[in-house]
Amino acid sequence: MFKKPRYIFRYNKNPKSLITSFQCLTTAALPTERIDSFRCVINNPLEQNEGHIGQFYRVPEDVVSKLFSQGGLPKSFRIQTKTFAETCLMIRKPSIDIINCIKNLDFSKPVPRFVLYGQKGVGKSLSLAHIVHYGYEAGFLLVHIPWLGEWMRRPKDSSPSETKEGYTNINLDIASWLVHFKNQNSLLLEKANLKTTQTYKWTKREETVANSNLMDLVDHGINRIKFASDCVLALLNEIKQLSKSGKCKTLVAIDGFNAFFYPETRIRTEKKEIVHPHNVSVTEGFLSLTRFDWKNAVAVLIVDELAIAEKDQTSYFPRYLLGKDGFEHLDPFIPVLVNGYSNKEFLSCMNYYRERRWVQPLPGLDDELSVISSSNPYKLMQLCAPL
């Protein structure tokens, strides 16, 4: 039914050519007016465009608590938002590029996969947060894993799967992800009235009958943590079917996606053997969402060095991080490089810090910091902390 898409990109380092070469797209209209300030007046990501690159926009508090209360914003950034008494994200080129692509996407075509990659601390996760906010405003069903490393590197528990021989469940993490999913999609699920297509039998007495609400499935996973993993598999399957039949649009956003392909997890079986991520029961469901054999969806993934063991953090390129299997699984995908701050972004960030009174104005400070931090946003944040 689905043919492998013809466009093939590998290591397209220049994001500009990304837009022009992407078949389904028309070039976005460039903005006519430009506001020379570090604060963006438009807080709705639906209306932001390339003219706003480098500016900060405020994410409303209720949206933050809805989308990111269970994760999605890095911890160091969350501390900053508390100190600044507001959550402001910088509008950056990679996220705007991807949002423009999504806006002009033909959803009857197979699912495009965007892969954000870049060095540590350049703002991949916050770019994803921006895209997730866009997805929320644009009415996508969000399948968002805030940080896969948490499941694979620091699982809260593990138990052998009862339904699938040789598989391991990480039910506590999965149950908390279901809460996250429920938080993010509660409004949409109420409105869209999505129904399950088949009956799922959990035990003799418990079952989720066909044509029941999708939320019932989620609630069952949360209430009966023992079945959380199976619930997620069922849920992801349903989401795929629903999107295929055009009942909803789905945004799959996974941070630290390469952890699905890194063999050394910290999950152990009862015999203390290391579990390969493919033997974690939920992996299959999420991997099936990142294939191109469905439609009405878009996948934005991050490959990150931090999702794998420290000894192997030698390169940030997708081919290295995904490995052969992962690369072939995603191929063809659209790589999007996230860079450190450009000059304009750096200045805007420093202005924002000064306005929030985080950094005291000092002549010559900007030049020095831009050199020392090498325009890496995370390093800059750390350097500015004691100033």
Binding site: T83, F84, A85, R356, R357, W358, Q360, L362, P363, G364, L365, E368, A385, P386, L387
Partner: protein, 232 residues
Amino acid sequence: MASLKRIFFGKHSFINQRNSIYSLIQQNGMSQYPSYYIQPVYRKEAQEELEKSGEIMKITHVPTRAALNDQTSSVYQDELVNLFINYVMRDGLKTLARGLVEKSFENIKRIQLEKYHKAKTEAEKQAIEINPKNIFHQAVNNCKPLLYLTPIKRGGVKYQVPVPIPDKRSQFLSMKWLIEAAREKERTVHFPEKLAYELIDAASNTGKVVKRKLDLHKQCEANRAYAHYRWS
């Protein structure tokens, strides 16, 4: 006799020579630099000043020591903070000490900014000092004692005699007290956190360290009767 004399003087002169060599080494201490090496001028403004006054021509060809690790021309470098970092340091773990002080500066900012955002009127907001360096300087200044007690033996009895304190000593005591106060904490509280609170307290002229200074002053006041032992 003559030979004896020669030996004596010869020996004497030898000892003298050895003494002078010894004193030369002593003067230079453990330094890897010979004594004629001059101290580096590492601040940009100081260099410009030298250039303006023409002094720079005098030292152009004089061998100069390399600048120390913490002597940088960075715009946010601060001598007093560097000194403080050295006082915090234990076992030569300078990176750790610097990290602790920087973290406590960050905490100061977070605490003050929280107050700033809570304040309702503009005037209240303006009154809150956020710059951690200013708070630090203010705190050190507020904790400096004016007098201290020194034991002086008179008639077989040691008296605690109040004595005016040199500026450097009082600065040292002030910083030492601040660090000691910050180290006196629960195990669960981290040093930077406690130091931040101590600095903020001291900057507003309250808190443990300022009280310690006042206690010392009180003690000096009580012992004023012994003050004349300083010179008699």
